[in-house]
């Protein structure tokens, strides 16, 4: 049975080779499954701010710069009230206090800003604090100057985020267009609906002054009459004199009750109406009423018909309905506004000139902000905006953009899509 012993190592060897084999399979798995879908350059916020891959990271989570024994650690702190720079300077591991640190940021487009630092002692530890907040976007080229014992040391690094380069040819093909931001007018409108009604002051129900027999009627329904024109001739019952009934103003006969031979009784003989002007009465609901005042311009429309006018009165509804009535006078000499028509009104509720506005198409949401993308050369970068008034076409920019900045109008979505694309995945 000595052979048994001679056999064991062989089996062991064999098992070993199988194990080597299955072990390398594991590796194979990892490689095959590990690599898919991560080709995209990470452009996300967190990614970029942590982008110190090649750079050394210091004990406070900042970026380290060395020169001899001198070490500067610079961190951009975002969880404080306002984003700020903090720095720690050491010489052979000992904190250095007599040194002048300046950090200069160069943003896309060449705008620069310098930060001076001052020593701060806090419970959390001592550090140098940069003066002033670091505004978003945190995308810039950083130059660090350190003046220590008469020597100036300089370091540079890039800290880009939300920036993307697109070749001109491709941008053209993609239909990305830009235009400079500038001043303009915001014209806010509100759509309301209402009816065209006749001007009650221009409707007359004409009666005979003295009762009598209608001897003659000169007009028919629809006839246009002039002021003073004789409408009918009546023979008074008392005096048996004939007298004329004349039109009190120019207008159209809309009703005629008088017929030859009839007694006038107490009824109206004619209704004369002048539709040269009609009123548009719009219903203004509570949510809208704050924005509507008298004197506002309104474009009244019905299909292709349009008229410019203004709101004359604002009166509460008399029927107990919750809405108010806004009245606007319509010039109806062409006769296109028939009373009873339902009309749409676009009320200009606000019209202001603003020093800076951009096209609505240029506004995208990016992370938690509303942003637009500016273009410098072939590079595009987002600008978080504080927006003001907005109308159908443009939006006022309160801050975040400068006049003259070239911003993306058409297909701005592509820039947003490109910045966020690393997050696009195919999950089932």
């Amino acid at each position: 049975m000595t052979s048994l012993f001679s056999m064991n190592p062989m089996i062991a060897k064999l098992a070993l080779s199988f194990m080597v084999f299955s072990g390398s399979l594991q590796l194979a798995y990892a490689e095959q499954h590990g690599d898919h879908g991560h080709e995209a350059q990470e452009q996300g916020h967190s990614e970029e701010h942590d982008d110190h891959n090649e750079a050394q990271q210091g004990p406070n989570g900042g970026r380290l710069f060395h020169e001899g024994h001198l070490t500067v650690e610079l961190a951009l702190i975002e969880d404080s009230a306002e984003p700020e720079f903090r720095a720690w300077i050491t010489d052979e591991g000992q904190p250095v206090s007599k040194a002048k640190l300046t950090v200069q940021l160069t943003r896309l487009g060449g705008e620069t800003k310098a930060f001076e630092f001052k020593q701060l002692k806090t419970k959390m530890g001592d550090y140098l604090q940069g003066n002033g907040a670091v505004e978003e976007p945190h995308s810039f080229d950083v130059t660090v100057f350190l003046n220590h014992e008469g020597q100036t040391h300089t370091w540079q690094y890039e800290n880009h985020e939300g920036r993307v380069e697109i070749k001109t040819e491709i941008a053209n093909r993609a239909g990305i267009s830009t235009q400079p931001a500038g001043p303009g007018e915001i014209n806010q409108t509100l759509t309301v609906y209402g009816k065209a009604v006749a001007d009650t002051s221009k409707i007359s129900h004409i009666e005979a002054r003295f009762p009598g027999i209608i001897k003659r009627v000169n007009v028919a329904i629809g006839d246009k009459v002039k002021k003073g024109q004789v409408l009918a001739v009546i023979e008074s019952n008392e005096s048996l004199n004939r007298y004329n009934v004349t039109a009190p103003f120019s207008g159209t006969i809309t009703a005629r009750h008088a017929a030859q031979g009839e007694q006038t009784e107490d009824q109206a003989l004619f209704t004369l109406a002048n539709f040269d002007s009609v009123w548009a009465e719009f219903q203004i609901f509570p949510t809208q009423s704050q924005r509507i005042t008298t004197g506002q311009d309104v474009v009244v429309s019905l299909g292709e018909r349009k008229a410019n006018t203004r709101i004359e009165h604002l009166i509460p509804s008399t029927t107990g309905s919750p809405f108010m009535i806004a009245r606007a006078l319509l010039d109806n000499r062409s006769g296109q506004w028939t009373p009873g028509l339902l009309v749409e009104g676009k009320v200009t509720v606000k019209k202001v000139s603003t020093p800076l506005l951009i096209d609505n198409k240029a506004i995208q949401t990016f992370r938690d902000w509303q942003v637009t993308f500016i273009k410098v050369g072939n590079e595009y970068e987002f600008r978080p905006l504080e927006l003001g008034l907005r109308d159908d076409e443009n939006t006022e920019v309160l801050s975040g953009l400068k006049a003259g900045d070239e911003y993306v109008v058409d297909n701005s979505y592509l820039i947003k899509a490109d910045l966020e694309k690393s997050g696009a995945s195919h999950d089932h």
Partner: protein, 1042 residues
């Protein structure tokens, strides 16, 4: 028993021979039925249940559809698990059954369960099971396009809607009839709809609500049958037609009677042919198109079906209006033909090489022919077996067939038989042997070697057993391979027991040349002194062998590794992904740019894409994802035909990365489909968080992500994207709604109709039917600001603006809701770099247990490929030793000696050595394919040793002189050993050198076997005799064994 079979075979030799006809008959019959494909189908047994829910947001479709469907499925027999996703307008539940479940049985079960819940689903929604197809099912794709200048009957050029109409009503019905096609899936274009677009202002003027319009359309659009009357003996059918037929008809429908004046549709609305709110689009070469996909029924022969589809497509072309062109853009036949050509080439060339070797070494034409006859016979039996066991012919299943291995058993038998016959003839003064004597001699010769030969084949068969223990995708890939090889080997085994001896008995009747072939003579002349020298320098030889084993062990660790060599399909597929929330039309625009750019490559023939979800949601992608197919020109048309596909992919990738807004994932058409269907977690580790509240789930997932990122070795950690779909919510103000006498449902109906549209009947044009949809005009719909002043009609006349009764809010909402086994889940995934998976997972589990605090009702599940790896290694670590034990057991049975068995076993590591060196020399990584090669190798090595050792032992026992027996035996066995080795390795040579489609899968396997056989033959020829001599030096002959 073996003796009696042998005797029977020789005595009833003609009967045996007649079995050949049976084999031929069965084989050729089966061949007609053999499913042929390029790769094995790795899809699991799954049924997709799709419910289209137009207008439903992810949350609603989950709550109203997915949940009831999932609940209904719980408890179905043989259910493995369910997973689901709820998206805009779609709920998809995927039910995965245990392996081996009959698909039709499974579908029946589901059908029953779905029937039971029909009432609990929102009215009008119908869950439907996906096509009876698998990942290999998308066999044919074509586009429908209009030629330049072609016009419709009405003089308009063809647009996407018109093309879609042709696809839906002319092409699809014809193609769906092709045998083996289960579904024609359409994507792209627009479903033709009749749109009634009311003008809000006119509606106000006439005091008409959207509901009035819908109601009017519904009640004025039907035919009615009214039975029959008999008149003078004749039967008259009565009907009252009232269906709307044209746009003018619709316009004339009266909505309301206002003071005696009828208000018609045309007074309040515009009627026009409109576009559906589609969920998917298709593009080709930068332009929108309509794309049809033929899906093959499970188990059909993809080549036959796609040929039939192509044929039918040609016939359909003749039925199309002038100027409309069908163009096949993807045809599986191409790939299958290429793959089969590769396999065929390998097999034929291998067979020829094997036959050539047999001629050369046996030096006898008839003998060689008899041996070679085993090849087609075994092949035919194998094909019959494949059909019976449902294994399809493909690169994998046929990829490991080596005719060399198959004829090994026969070679040994025939070789011995002619040697003995020649000897006998020689003794008989070169006269022909009498029949009886010849038969007896054949019997003896066969019987002499049948045992080692049978054992050898059995051992080779046994080594394939570990492959059967693989499960999941690996199992699906390699079971067919193992099954085919085992079937072929078993067939060869039976053949060498029956027909081979019978044929020897019949055909080796003439004069048998005793002369050995000059090759063998030369080999012997070289071998004898070499062996003698080796016997003298035992330690050197053994030391070298041992050293080689260790060196190759080290080499193995330096080899790269891959799981399975990826089949090169010859075409490229890529996912183009945009950010969630990207609109379909925007995606189409981005897609056009992408395609134009890809088309600029001279190697590209066609490029087309599916964006979003097709009509049948077999692959429910959101609109921001597109599946691109890049079909390449034949290599001869490339500017540089030697460029590899990887290089091309690299170049395309660089080029398209410049386009803004797209993210890409490169793959291949079939591979992409498999990935989509198998889905699951594709990272090393997936941590699934289960629970109720989406926000909480996401919060917990993010917590886990934070912990995960800190664990050493974690890479690419990320949380599954579940949010980020911007949503405009119209939230009713309850008090205001009540104050105006409205109710919430009315308000919601209004919003739904205004934006999404409401279906209000059908227009019939012959067979074709088109929906009538009431929806606000595009201009009004798209104007979000204007939406707030959208008038809402009040029940008692009048109106209020929408902003009066509802708040409009835009906020990000869930993009999709994923569920697994009936519970919401969010997955955190990570890969592992630079550390072993096992310890990483343990670490992660510990960290999460201590650092993450899950609220009550939330739990975790760990999954990912690490699971498969773990279970695979676990199984292999049990099965491999057992297999080795079985082999050893067989050897012990053959030799009645542990020692001899162990000596033979030494062949294995040395054989592996050669395999590893061969891989290293060809710069190939380790893979499962190579692993299969190692497995085959172990078998061959053992077989060689067996043949050699058995003879030496017999000789020793006969002659009693160990040293003499070793040398003598080795010399006599030189021919069979060389032959088996040569045929086995030469049989693989074409495979190792082939560069055709699919060759990449087989190349490592063949390389390993060739390299291994060389080393193992050297071992058999030199090391084995030495070892045998050494170990048996002190043993005495047990005469009773002789």
């Amino acid at each position: 028993m073996i003796e009696s079979i042998l005797r029977l075979s020789i005595e009833r030799r003609w009967l045996m021979l007649s079995f050949i006809l049976v084999i031929f008959g069965a084989g050729i019959y089966s061949f007609q039925k053999l499913p042929i494909d390029a790769v094995p189908d790795i899809t699991n047994v799954q049924v997709q249940i799709n419910t289209e829910a137009p207008g439903y947001s992810p949350l609603e479709s989950e709550q109203r559809i997915t949940y009831p469907v999932e609940t209904a499925l719980a408890g179905i027999p043989q259910l493995s698990y369910t997973r689901s996703l709820s998206r805009y307008g779609l709920s998809q539940v995927t039910v995965v059954f245990e392996e081996g479940t009959d698909l039709y049985f499974a579908r029946n079960l589901i059908n029953e369960s779905l029937g039971a819940i029909k009432n609990s689903l929102p009215p009008g929604l119908e869950p439907e099971m996906g096509p009876i197809s698998t990942g290999l099912g998308e066999i044919f794709m074509y586009t429908v396009e209009a030629q330049e200048g072609a016009v419709q009957e009405n003089g308009q050029p063809y647009d996407a809607t018109a093309l879609r109409e042709i696809q839906d009503w002319i092409i699809k019905p014809q193609l769906a009839l092709v045998k083996g096609v289960t579904e024609i899936n359409t994507i792209g274009g627009f479903d033709k709809q009749y749109h009634v677009q009311p003008n809000p202002q006119s509606m106000l003027a006439y005091d008409i609500s959207l509901e009035d319009i819908g109601q009017a359309l519904r009640t004025n659009n039907s035919n009615r049958g009214a039975g029959f009357i008999e008149r003078y003996g004749q039967q008259l059918l009565v009907r009252s037609p009232g269906q709307l037929q044209t746009i003018a008809d619709i316009e004339q429908v009266i909505v309301k009677n206002l003071n005696g004046t009828p208000v018609k549709i045309s007074d309040v609305a515009m009627v026009a042919i409109g576009k559906e709110l589609r969920t998917g689009a298709a593009t080709r070469d930068g332009k929108e198109t309509v794309l049809g996909t033929a899906m093959m029924l499970v188990g059909e022969n993809s080549r036959t079906v796609s040929l039939a589809v192509a044929q039918r497509l040609k016939e359909v072309q003749t039925t199309l209006p002038k100027g409309i062109e069908l163009d096949s853009v993807y045809d599986r036949t191409t790939l299958v033909d290429k793959a089969i050509a590769t396999v065929e080439k390998n097999l034929v060339e291998g067979a020829l090489l094997v036959i050539a070797v047999l001629f050369l070494l046996l030096g006898n034409f008839r003998a060689a022919l008899i041996t070679a006859a085993v090849i087609p016979l075994a092949m035919l039996v194998t094909i019959t077996g494949m059909v019976k066991t449902g294994v399809s012919a493909n690169l994998m299943s046929l990829g490991a067939l080596d005719f060399g291995l198959i004829v090994d058993g026969a070679v040994i038998i025939v070789e011995n038989a002619i040697r003995r016959l020649a000897q006998a003839q020689h003794n008989n003064q070169n006269e022909k042997l009498p029949l009886k004597e010849r038969l007896e001699l054949v019997y003896q010769a066969t019987n002499e070697v049948i045992r080692p030969s049978l054992f050898g084949v059995m051992i080779i068969t046994v080594v394939y057993i570990p492959l059967f223990s693989l499960t999941g995708v690996e199992g699906k890939m390699f079971h067919p391979m193992a099954a085919t090889v085992v079937m072929a080997l078993l067939a060869a085994l039976v053949l060498s027991l029956t027909i081979v001896p019978a044929m020897v008995a019949i055909f080796m009747s003439g004069k048998i040349s005793e002369k050995e072939s000059p090759l063998i003579v030369a080999a012997k002349r070289a071998y004898e002194p070499a062996l003698k020298a080796a016997m003298k320098a035992k330690t050197v030889v053994l030391g070298t062998a041992l050293g080689l084993v260790f060196i190759s062990g080290w080499l193995a660790t330096t080899l790269g590794s891959e799981f399975i060599p990826q089949l090169n399909e010859g075409d490229i597929a890529l996912h183009a992904m945009r950010i969630p929330g990207t609109g379909l039309e925007q995606a189409v625009k981005m897609q056009s740019m992408l395609e134009e750019r890809i088309k600029e490559f001279p190697q590209v023939d066609k490029v087309f894409a599916k964006i979003g979800t097709p009509e049948v949601a077999t692959d429910p992608m959101p609109p921001n994802v597109a599946d691109n197919f890049v079909m390449l020109k034949p290599r001869s048309e490339w500017p540089d035909p030697d460029m590899t596909q990887q290089e091309l992919v690299k170049e395309i990738e660089t080029a398209v990365k410049e386009l803004p807004g797209n993210n890409y994932e490169f793959t291949q058409p079939i591979q992409m489909r498999f990935n989509e269907l198998i889905s699951g977690v594709r990272s090393d580790l997936g941590i699934k968080v289960f629970g109720d509240d989406l926000d909480q789930l996401l919060a917990s997932a993010n917590e886990i992500l934070e912990v995960l990122e800190k664990v050493n070795g974690a890479a690419d950690a990320k949380v599954e994207q579940v949010t980020g779909l911007p949503m405009l919510s119209v939230i009713p103000k309850r008090t205001a709604v009540a104050r105006y006498g409205l109710n919430i449902a009315e308000l919601q109906d209004l919003v739904a109709t205004a934006i999404g549209g409401e279906e209000s009947g059908l227009i019939f044009e012959g067979d074709r039917r088109f929906k009538i949809v009431v929806r606000l005009p595009e201009k009004t719909r798209l104007d979000i600001n204007g939406l707030s002043s959208l008038p809402v009609s009040l029940p008692n006349g009048g109106y209020v603006p929408l902003s009066e009764v509802a708040t409009l809010q835009t906020a990000p909402a869930p993009n999709q809701i994923s569920r697994e086994n009936g519970k919401r889940r969010v997955v955190v995934t990570a890969n592992v770099r630079g550390r072993d998976l096992g310890s990483f997972v343990t670490d992660v589990k510990q960290q999460i247990a201590s650092d993450v605090d899950l609220p009550a009702g939330y739990w975790l599940d760990y999954g990912g490929t690490f699971e498969q790896l773990e279970s695979a290694s676990e199984r292999l670590s049990i099965v491999v030793p057992i297999t080795l034990a079985i082999i050893l057991g067989l050897l012990v049975m053959a030799f009645n000696s542990f020692k001899d068995a162990a000596i033979i076993f030494t062949g294995v590591p040395l054989a592996l050595t050669g395999g590893i060196i061969a891989l290293w020399m060809r710069d190939m990584p380790l893979s499962i394919s190579a692993g299969v090669g190692f497995i085959a190798l172990s078998g061959v090595a053992v077989l060689n040793g067996l043949v050699m050792l058995a003879f030496i032992r017999d000789l020793w026992h006969e002659k009693g002189d160990l040293a003499m027996a070793v040398v003598e035996g080795a010399l006599i066995r030189l021919r069979p050993v060389l032959m088996t080795a040569l045929v086995a390795s030469l049989g693989f040579v074409p495979m190792a050198l082939n560069t055709g489609t699919g060759a990449e899968v087989q190349r490592p396997l063949a390389t390993v076997v060739i390299g291994g056989i060389i080393s193992s033959t050297l071992l058999t020829l030199f090391v084995l005799p030495i070892l045998y001599g050494l170990l048996h030096k002190k043993d005495k002959i047990k005469t009773e064994e002789v």
